[in-house]
């Protein structure tokens, strides 16, 4: 094992320890905020595996999360299926269903891909309300869906465990040559093809991984909330929050989306006393825009750079 790997593993261990002890120190309300941050981190990681790496921007992630959430919700709420069964089925549906939908789109380049994914989100929004409202609950959605566990602390541990499991497995997966190949697509797709690799296969694999995580996150999320409504899910603000989490933290990393999700969620909560409604997104969005324009590598890099600078200043003084 090389030294940097040891260093990273140590950082992971510290991070996990701090997060595990967190319920001892903070209020239930804060915990609920962090639960949302955990789910947001899952969605952001899912988005990043596809879009952050390969540069194929998906505006349709709410669509994938929606398939996962709705499938599991319908199966457990309407058909009384146990959650242990409905969640795996939902993940499977998202991975396969999402892939079938996106398969034609994966052959499109850049902006066209983004457009098609955006159209999928809108399509899903419309369909959910019109087709079989007796199943989906139509515009009003569903509430009273079975939850996995009760109480902020339990839900916190559950969401955290899920997030960390996903983060570490993605971290391990992205460290392999597969991860390098995906990043290479983001830099120059033609040269990847020119190196004898099928980019369609790679993109498909990235997409399926992404859809798998989105489905998993979506299914767990719906059983945490206990309710689902199309308006909240297929919303531009939700899409924006997912994408910005990944970008503001640092795209094409794992720590980036996690950090970004935490940062954005806490920022959003901190703004609540000043601006209660959607207006918060004005400040929130402006900060995101400024960070994105001036530090495209993200906040994690910004923090590390600042630390390095401080360290060099201190060492030059002493």
């Amino acid at each position: 094992m090389t030294n940097p790997t040891k260093k990273y593993l140590l950082l992971w261990a510290i991070f996990i320890a701090v997060m595990l002890l967190l319920p001892e120190f903070v209020s239930k309300g804060t915990l609920r905020t962090i639960i949302f941050a955990n789910f947001l981190a899952i969605f952001a990681i899912s988005w990043d595996v596809l879009s952050g790496r390969t540069g194929y921007i998906s505006f349709g992630h709410p669509f994938l999360i929606g398939i996962g959430a709705y499938t599991s919700a319908i199966l457990s709420y309407r058909f009384d299926m146990p959650i242990e069964l409905s969640i795996p089925l939902a993940v499977l549906t998202t991975t396969i269903g999402g892939t079938l939908f996106f398969l034609p789109a994966l052959r499109l380049k850049g902006s066209y891909f983004a457009l098609v994914t955006l159209a999928f989100m809108e399509l899903m929004y419309q369909l959910v309300q019109v087709i079989r409202p007796d199943l989906t609950g139509g515009t009003r959605g569903m509430s009273g869906i079975e939850t996995i566990t009760r109480g902020a602390v339990n839900n916190y541990y559950l969401s955290f465990a899920l997030m960390v499991t996903i983060a570490i497995s993605m971290w391990l997966l992205m460290r392999t040559r597969f991860g390098s190949a995906l990043s290479a697509i983001g830099m120059n797709e033609e040269s990847v093809r020119g190196s004898g690799l099928s980019t369609t296969k790679l993109k498909l694999a990235a997409f399926m991984t992404s859809a798998f995580i989105a489905g998993l996150g979506g299914a767990f999320y719906v059983h945490y909330l206990g309710s689902i409504a199309p308006r909240a899910l297929f919303d531009i603000n939700f899409l924006f929050t997912i994408i910005v989490s990944a970008l503001i933290g640092g795209a094409a990393t794992i720590i980036g989306p996690m950090f970004g999700a935490l940062f954005l969620t806490i920022l959003l909560e901190a703004l609540r006393p000043i601006l209660p409604g959607v207006e918060r997104y004005l400040i929130y969005g402006s900060i995101a825009l400024i960070v994105y324009m001036f530090k495209p590598q993200g906040l994690v890099v910004l923090v590390l750079d600042t630390l390095d600078k401080l360290r060099s200043i201190i060492s030059s003084r002493s």
Binding site: I57, S111, R280, M293
Partner: protein, 255 residues
């Protein structure tokens, strides 16, 4: 049925105009302008505030919507699009963020509730069983007039030809002595004008309310995708689509 057909036919012009605005940017700059829906809404709110709340004359307010639109469009190009030049992904994402910022800004200024906008032109016209408001008729006619103007602009003026050249091949245009960044600037400014115009005309048809941003983003997404190739083809392709979409909208959309 007749009502739906006529309404759809008339509205299609308006939708197509919206689609062209979106397509214009896409064909020239090769980037999706996801803030485009927000542009429309700004036009609507300018009209709402100045014409209805302050009671300024309607033609003046329409002109104001256009001017303020151009201004912000140019600002946006200078501050966001140009610094990120060459990075399409970054521009697209920053326009998404901008859409959210504008939407939130509007909520901050005007609150979340829908605003009822009065018709620019009042009166109705009855044909058979169908009712056509003069407002829709005006909207349709002016849409097609703007189309005509746009077509002539693209075909006949030097700037228009230059825009077309950039949309077909940026490098080729550079060789011919056209400055693509300038053309991009013109287009972004122009797009604002179009966007705000649309919304100005649009204003009675749908009550202006902030949630519309997201919806408009999606609509423009569809229109843009269908009419992507070149902007003069854009509205030809966008027209029929929006004709159908117009019907669909009337049938199902009760938002």
């Amino acid at each position: 049925m007749l009502q739906i057909l006529i309404q759809g036919l008339l509205l299609s012009g308006l939708y197509a105009l919206i689609a062209v605005g979106f397509t214009l940017i896409f064909s020239v700059g090769r980037v999706l302008n996801l803030a485009y829906g927000a542009y429309l809404v700004i036009g609507g709110y300018v009209y709402f505030y100045f014409a209805q709340s302050l009671g300024l004359p309607k033609p003046l307010v329409m002109a104001m919507a256009v001017v303020c639109g151009c201004l912000v469009g140019v600002l946006k190009y200078r501050l966001i699009v140009k610094p990120l030049k060459g990075n399409h992904v970054a521009v697209e994402i920053s326009t998404l963020i901008l859409a959210v910022v504008i939407q939130a800004g509007i909520v901050l200024l005007f609150k979340d509730s829908p605003k009822i906008l009065h018709p620019i032109v009042s009166g109705v016209w009855r044909v058979g069983g169908a009712t056509i408001t003069f407002n829709i008729l005006t909207a349709a006619v002016s849409s097609w007039l703007i189309f005509g103007g746009l077509y002539l602009f693209v075909r006949k003026t030097h700037t228009g030809r230059a825009m077309e050249a950039v949309s077909m091949d940026t490098k080729g245009a550079v060789i011919s002595g056209i400055r693509p960044d300038r053309i991009n600037l013109i287009t972004w400014g122009y797009i604002w004008r179009l966007g705000c115009n649309c919304r100005g005309i649009f204003c009675e048809l749908y009550p202006a309310f902030p949630g519309y941003v997201g919806c408009a983003v999606n609509h423009c997404g569809c229109g843009g995708y269908r009419g992507w190739y070149r902007f003069d083809l854009g509205y030809l392709a966008g027209g029929p689509y929006y004709w159908i979409h117009g019907n669909y909208f009337n049938l199902f959309d009760r938002r």
